[in-house]
Assembly symmetry: C2
Homo-oligomer: 239 residues x 2
């Protein structure tokens, strides 16, 4: 499995600029992780404060996206990067879009929670959503780690983990449907949980996209529509 | 409201390359529109063939994304574009991501339809989904038109139309929930319709993103997190 470092440039200033962009992406990722954690504390402990905060704080993540996007444009114009540097800027441009959309999905969950908290709190059907949330949070963490370390092998593992999230989501949806069938009065609140679970699944999809951006960045190949087994084979042969 | 044309370049070849990329984006958009139309023919006429085709044809859209992405990288490396040209390439890079994800959402709807077609067909609860689908399809068409004509004023109208889609989706979800409450045996098939309706809503979200990319391209501003009223004011003052 291959890891890579950015090449050193004759211009120390250019190095610093690229490093600065990478640090900002990781800061933005850290903020997304924080928001996810706050929302999940409702599922695991019934705490509402975190969700209330996240429901009105998505603009912080959006502001970082706009700032980094501008940094990318600036570097493209002033430095005219090629090869690995160009791929870094393009991968960052796509990664921050994914982080911003993760933020949107997490905000949606926060709004679902704060919309009907009393109906929803303390219900047994949170247990599975809480477990799924932990798995998705780990996947987000791992996707950011692979970006920080530029590790395409680890990125491939993250992309593959998305399949387990999809299978887990399917099982939870079936479970939640049985609660609806047992008691039609629960249809409305359980539907909110279903929509929250689907939003968690999409957070996982975006983490997968970030991992695929890392593979593109390190390996120089767009792998989004290639089978993961095929990529694994190629990475192994390359070592 | 302002419309813009790409500047002519000293290099006719460069002009041709940019024009070629724009044509490919519109071809990709046309394919997404076709897929959406095929899926919607199930809602309006109960025809299953279109959904069956779409469920196995998303790779056509994905292939175009990979191709255009590569074209964008090539132009950045060989031409080192600045200003409007750079914005075009970056806007294209984001737009094809949105088109690809629209394709994914439409594929999900196709899979929901082909998964349980006999249970679902001929049910009255399709009427609203069908109407929503027509509104979303129009929004997709308009977003591609604004990209073709580089019309930021029209793009703003598309972005604003997304709010109506969101309100319409909310009303449909409430309507669909009543079918579930009336007859618990309908919970599973109606949930499929709910998931399809949410997927349509997200297709509308991506059309909004494309429109915002056009505003960025023409006006040179990232407007994704600015209020639409604020942008409208500024566009009017600029004329």
């Amino acid at each position: 499995m291959s890891t890579s470092r950015l090449p050193n440039h004759i211009s120390q200033q250019f190095d610093n600029e690229l490093q600065d962009i990478r640090s900002k992406v990781l800061a933005m990722g850290g903020l997304v992780e924080q928001h996810l954690e706050k929302v999940l504390s409702f599922f695991s402990k019934g705490e509402l404060e975190g969700a209330e905060y996240v429901a009105v704080s998505d603009h912080l993540i959006n502001a970082l996206e706009v700032e980094i996007d501008q940094d990318c444009s600036d570097v493209l114009v002033r430095r005219q990067p090629a090869a690995m540097d160009l791929r870094l800027v393009l991968a960052v441009s796509k990664t921050i879009t994914d982080l911003e959309r993760m933020g949107d999905e997490i905000e949606k969950i926060a709004r679902l929670i704060t919309h009907e908290p009393t109906v929803l709190s303390g219900n047994s059907y949170y247990h599975s959503a809480s477990t799924l949330g932990k798995h998705v949070a780990l996947m987000v963490r791992n996707s950011l780690d692979t970006f920080a370390r530029m590790d395409s092998g680890a990125a491939l593992q993250v992309a593959m983990a998305d399949r387990e999230i999809d299978v887990e989501t399917g099982a939870i949806l079936r479970e939640l449907m049985t609660y609806m069938m047992e008691d039609p009065r629960k249809i409305s609140p359980v539907l909110d949980v279903i929509l929250a679970v689907r939003a968690l699944e999409r957070v996982g999809d975006h983490a997968k996209n970030i991992a695929e951006n890392v593979i593109y960045l390190v390996e120089g190949r767009n792998v989004r529509h290639v089978s993961l087994e095929q990529i694994q084979k190629e990475l192994e042969q390359g070592n």
